[in-house]
């Protein structure tokens, strides 16, 4: 029997190959990406658990350096047309944001295990969830006020601050001409009549401050607008495969 097409998601990737530090955050369709720090003062004003933030660029292979514990690695993606799992999403390849955190007393922002140390040793590259050999990493390093790296409020604010920073790029990425993308991926939610009906069940983090999962943020893999699975009682929530592929899940850990 014929496959039934329920909806289509098109993810258009724009690869960045000229990545540098500069005066202001900027991203261009031709692969120029500038990492700026100008947003930091406004973030410090907005989030009362954060003492300071540092934003730095780590070039491919330049990993022989200290890192605080890695809270998340996030792709810069934005919704261009349609809802989560449907329509068009733009994403950046070649650059990923790495969120790290420690408090003023040197207490790492972690729960049961911590990944601070030499980045070269503490990050396994080329996995689905980590940058590749040739990728740039934007280090978004948060210095929490005393004890706040262990508190739910602090942890959420840390993620939210990185999200605000990324939104600057998303707003520019949204306006890119889709026909100029470097990669185009098309995904379909389908019904395949007569084939084996399979369900994927994923057990995810849901136990506390550094062990949380958020669902359905406004932007793919974002924070703003998302809902904590802890606040939903950790009960099972159904996603279509396309929603999953479209960044419906944010790892808050």
């Amino acid at each position: 029997m014929k496959e039934i097409d329920l909806r289509r998601l098109v993810i258009k990737a724009f690869h960045m190959n000229d990545v540098k530090m500069g005066d202001a955050c900027d991203v261009k369709m031709n692969g120029e990406f500038t990492v700026g720090k100008e947003i930091i003062p406004s973030l410090l004003e907005k989030y009362d658990t954060i003492q300071d933030i540092d934003i730095n660029l780590i070039a491919p292979g330049d990993h022989d350096r200290f890192t605080n514990t890695i809270m998340d690695i996030v792709p810069i993606s934005t919704k261009v047309l349609g809802k989560c799992g449907d329509g068009i999403t733009h994403t950046i390849t070649g650059v990923y944001v790495m969120l790290t955190g420690v408090d003023v007393d040197g207490e790492q922002a972690h729960e049961f295990g911590s990944s601070e140390g030499n980045l070269k040793e503490m990050l396994r590259l080329n996995k689905a969830g980590t940058p590749g050999d040739d990728d740039y990493i934007i280090s978004f390093d948060i210095l929490f006020k005393k004890g706040q790296g262990q508190e739910r409020k602090g942890c959420i604010q840390g993620h939210a601050a990185a999200d605000d920073f990324m939104q600057v790029y998303r707003n520019k990425l949204k306006k890119f001409d889709g026909s100029k993308c470097t990669e185009r991926h098309e995904y379909h939610d389908t019904i395949r009549p007569g084939q084996k009906r399979v369900l994927i069940i994923r057990q995810v983090a849901g136990q506390g401050a550094m062990y949380d999962t958020w669902l359905f943020p406004d932007e793919p893999s974002g924070v703003e607008g998302g809902k904590s699975i802890i606040d939903m009682g950790n009960v099972p929530i159904m996603l279509t495969p396309n929603e999953y592929r479209d960044g419906a899940i944010r790892s808050m850990q």
Partner: protein, 160 residues
């Protein structure tokens, strides 16, 4: 990072997840959806939520289920209960989980057997705190899918 940095799935992992990618692109599988539940803190919640996940699979008349977890230790309480509930309901299943040498299941189920693929990559089989090290790979997913297909076929043959 939560329970074990080496098993944690980052937001980037979920965006490029090999499980949804491989199962979704298999022409012999009608992937119905992805059911996500959180690892609860409280034992009552752990059992209720993981049972509910298996119940939803039954209500959907799933021919098979693949269960994954991104934690270990007390996460096994929810995980193994989900597997037990699926097994008791006669639903063929396979799974992906980190065990290695240090994180053998803390609870038991007769349905674990060969059905659960160990995604440990660390040479000593330990939680190394290295981000990404003990994440599932495309090869792990392919193994889990093959195991599920075997289980679904076995059930079919029994009823023939």
């Amino acid at each position: 990072m939560g329970i074990g940095p080496s098993t944690k799935e980052t937001s980037l992992h979920h965006f490029r997840d090999p499980l949804v990618e491989i199962v979704g692109s298999d022409a012999g599988i009608d992937l119905m959806g992805v059911l996500v539940f959180g690892t609860a803190d409280d034992n009552v919640d752990k059992i209720r939520n993981s049972t509910m996940a298996a119940k939803i699979a039954e209500c959907m008349r799933a021919d098979g289920v693949i269960v994954s977890s991104d934690g270990w230790g007390n996460s096994d309480v929810d995980y193994v209960n989900c597997i037990q509930e699926l097994g008791d309901r006669g639903i063929p299943m396979s799974g992906l989980n980190f065990s290695g040498s240090m994180a053998q299941f803390v609870t038991e189920s007769e349905y674990i057997g060969k059905n659960i693929i160990d995604i440990a990559k660390n040479p000593e089989g330990v939680e190394s705190n290295i981000v990404g090290e003990n994440n599932m790979s495309p090869e792990d997913v392919k193994k889990a899918l093959i195991q599920l297909k075997i289980k679904m076929r076995e059930k079919e043959m029994k009823s023939e």
